[in-house]
Symmetry: D2
Subunit: 117 residues, 4 copies
């Protein structure tokens, strides 16, 4: 990982897992599953909200959503650690790919997938 902030979290998660003997459960497949489950738990808080309501969450919802977002990040870091992925570098690379896929002139103001542009 390229950033200190990510390294700190990665190391804390390693210690956490080792102390509990959880590495046996943390296969990349299982971590990808847990990541998808956490992302769905985050989404659950929004499922019946109108778009406007989703912009100004009630305090309890905001608190719950915040901790679900943290869960997503934690499983993502753990997943990347197990596969030795550099998430920050990959994210920059993906933005470049997206810039090429979605030229401003074609993508401006519409939400079509790049395969349909």
């Amino acid at each position: 990982m390229t950033t200190i902030a990510f390294q700190d979290l990665r190391d804390k998660l390693r210690d956490f897992s080792m102390a509990r003997d959880w590495d046996q459960f943390h296969t990349p497949k299982n971590l990808a599953t847990a990541l998808a489950v956490e992302a769905a738990e985050l989404l659950e808080h929004f499922q019946w909200l109108r778009d406007e309501e989703s912009r100004s969450l009630q305090p309890e919802t905001r608190e719950a959503v915040s901790l679900e977002a943290a869960d997503v990040l934690l499983y993502l870091i753990r997943f990347a650690d197990k596969l030795d992925l550099d998430l920050i570098a990959l994210a920059h690379r993906k933005i470049e790919i997206n810039s090429a896929r979605y030229p401003v002139a074609l993508a401006r103001g519409n939400a079509k997938k790049y395969t349909d542009l």
Copy 2:
């Protein structure tokens, strides 16, 4: 955001979206949906793999998985930006919550949910 690495990505995503007039689509609800969809796309690569296979991915699968993981991070950062969440601080807070929920003596070697410990 507390880290330079995240601020960089957040700012790039802001520019990317503004140039394409996409902020109209980026409600927290829609971003939470996109995050869950990307997490499922990541998971798709693992759905038929045995645990051992998931530890040593084929090169093309590893490349695809890497870019899906980047997508998850990018939507998570964008989501957090729209709700003004500090992901790194929240992640540290969540690890502390988990430490209390999963005491080593009870959690060691099993994968039960904290509510069942």
Copy 3:
């Protein structure tokens, strides 16, 4: 399964899988994963739509959505077959549970979870 329509689909899926020697991949865990992945693919078509747009889909979107919905049903039937679950009976039972959890007087006009009513 209690209905002929479901039995037909279940039997077709059994034949399909046996002919391809796919039962080795169809563990309940993997089928639950595939089900979640298909549900996310269905959702992907809606992620940037406004609620009104989601009510009157464009023809190509409607066609794609229809086939994703079919995938969800097929994996659900296959999953239920592997665990010997009677989906129709369970669905009726769940409606009764929900009727008790969401009394009309409390639930009318709001979308709160039963634990918050």
Copy 4:
């Protein structure tokens, strides 16, 4: 819907929703979201299980899984009702598409996606 069993459930869900004035929340977009969330809740029960464990669930897990599977079916029927989709007919059509995509000779014994066969 082509089957009595589905029509019964569809009608019960219509009554349930009307009595609670919930049609306002049941846009196709929101129902697709709820479907994905329920599928993830089903998956959550399997996330740390080994394949063998997932074949013979503990009684409490089996009960929880059964009701989550019912939730998936109920939201799928509700979603199909709102878009006027005939799930059973679509499922048969999708099996035919898959038969063409996955010829026995090519697909036998491997789990590759049809685009990679």
